[in-house]
Symmetry: C2
Subunit: 312 residues, 2 copies
DNA sequence: TGTTGGCACTCATATACTTTAAGTGCTAAC
DNA sequence: GTTAGCACTTAAAGTATATGAGTGCCAACA
């Protein structure tokens, strides 16, 4: 069925109201709150048709309507308006994002801002096509090295390697050279593999030290997911009026790779909206994910998503 | 009133039961669960006496008893047993704490472990008497510097300074020297003041660059609080069966300096237990804080506390 | 023919009332 | 001094009823 203008308006209202209240939406509510110029009876008739074609659902006969997965999808694809930011939001963003630190820090700030503005947790993952530009090693003390990884895209990662034995300065230099020779130009994505190769190739010359350094690096580069969310704001959402629901949600978020794998499958397009029940993942079924791929000028790819509860 | 053995046992049981269930405790529950060899009537009589001398409270006439602040205090000071760790816990700790990274990382791991084992959020603050040993600057790119602060105690902090202008290598060296000359030997606590002095003294020679570097350092050293807590476990505690209580708690935690100022006042002793209602702070009244001062071999002082809800 | 007012119907939620069970305090007996 | 027993209290659980937000459908209307 092709939806006429009125049906679209009604579907829009149902989706928007349900998102803010997490309660089934009735015909009168829509008429009053969204100032539609039709009587509640007309709206009821339309809602019935919308239900028959699968855009809406009814929890029970005397309750209002709730959008179905199909309804959400239609809303997202056809009806959603670009909500302009208020002056207040713009100010908040301007004040929150300062430009100190490297590119990664900047994105972390952005994720935090998104999280605050939407009152939704934001998950930031880095999927970098960036190449390693150089490795520097700073000798902190006899047994402590600071290893700095610099990428062509301007990201800096560093980690500390605690050694079991003292290390002479010349070994530090040699190690720096070896690492640079073997790793420069490697995509950050493949650094793990490259590191393993280095160990294989050079372990004889440096024994344990090399292993300890590579371990530290591996640990550092593996932690590339950042979750921003403030507990109070999430608990204030109407959908979490019940603790069990909040617990479920926290649980789902903790199972981080759920979101990861779900996103792997749906990569086309810049801004993606995944409605939980569209995926096979049961834990996700009551939530939706809004995802955004951001590609920085230096081919440094990022993703940034925000989770939001749907049904209660 | 001096408490005899039986009264002590009963008070103990009430406190322990209330901590795990967050429900008022009755005489029969105590008899059954804690295998006391007195009849419920005897226990009732004793409880009444305990209430009269202020160790217990009764929410209403037909309910069980709840420990009062005095009761908690007595329990903590006289009755609390050293609970030995189970083999399972010991294994968990052994596996969780690896020794990579610097001292600070180690403490972060420890805080996480404490948080998991107790299902309580853990807040870690660093109150360092440690002295700065040296400052190193790594030039990452023309406009990006990595500044590394190394303390005598083996802590490494680093931060990135993004410059507005290109910086020549010799300036980097000069800056490194200036910072070392002025800052080495400063207690980390006073670094902020020392940095301001440096800016005042040397700003003419280095103009903006120095300011940008010092700003980055200040930002880095000011973030010395780490909160570990997993949302799911906290939401599973019986005291947070009601969302509003959980929200309150999250709120209280977010107001971080509450805990800080409360702890400032009570510094004596290694292991401290602060019962919320003993402090003037209203927000704290339903919680208790367990605090531990850990002094590392290198005079590097740390604190580590854990919060736990009391009344509901 | 599309729209609307009206009405009978449904059902979750709210309210009022009752029952139950966990708890107490007190007394008399051991 | 301890305990069994009993009357009493009260929160919570259960039950019945009322309320109201919602629906579907029909007849009247523009």
């Amino acid at each position: 069925m092709k939806l006429d203008d009125r049906k679209k308006k009604i579907l829009s209202s149902v989706v928007e109201d349900y998102i803010t209240t997490a309660e089934p939406v009735g015909s009168k509510t829509i008429m009053d709150k969204y100032h539609l110029e039709y009587s509640s009876a007309t709206i009821r008739n339309e809602m019935k048709l919308l239900e028959e074609s699968g855009y809406l659902e009814q929890p029970h006969i005397s309750a209002g309507r709730v959008p179905s997965t199909k309804g959400y999808r239609y809303y997202v694809d056809n009806l959603m308006k670009n909500n302009n930011l208020s002056m207040l939001d713009i100010n908040y963003i301007d004040n929150s994002i300062t430009s100190y630190g490297d590119t990664e820090k900047l994105f972390e700030q952005a994720a935090e801002v998104v999280s605050k503005l939407l009152s939704r947790p934001t998950l930031l993952t880095f999927k970098s096509e960036d190449l390693l530009e150089s490795v520097k090693i700073v000798k902190v003390s006899e047994k402590l090295l600071l290893i700095v990884l610099i990428s062509q895209g301007g990201t800096v990662k560093d980690c500390i390697a605690k050694l079991t034995d003292n290390i002479p300065d010349e070994t530090v230099n040699e190690l720096t050279n070896v690492l640079n020779e073997n790793l420069v130009g490697t995509p950050l994505e493949n650094l793990n593999i490259a590191l393993n190769k280095v160990i294989e190739k050079e372990l004889k010359s440096f024994s344990f030290v090399l292993g300890q350094i590579c371990d530290s690096i591996k640990r550092e580069i593996s932690s590339t997911k950042k979750l921003s969310s403030s507990v109070e704001t999430i608990l204030s959402l109407p959908e979490f009026a019940d603790v069990d629901k909040a617990k479920n949600f926290a649980n789902m978020l903790a199972t981080k790779n759920i979101i990861d794998t779900t996103l792997e499958k749906t990569q086309e397009g810049e801004l993606g909206i995944i409605i939980g029940s569209e995926s096979q993942e049961l834990l996700l079924k009551d939530y939706s994910i809004i995802s955004l791929n951001i590609e920085t000028e230096d081919k440094h790819l990022r993703k940034n998503f925000c989770n939001k509860s749907k049904k209660n």
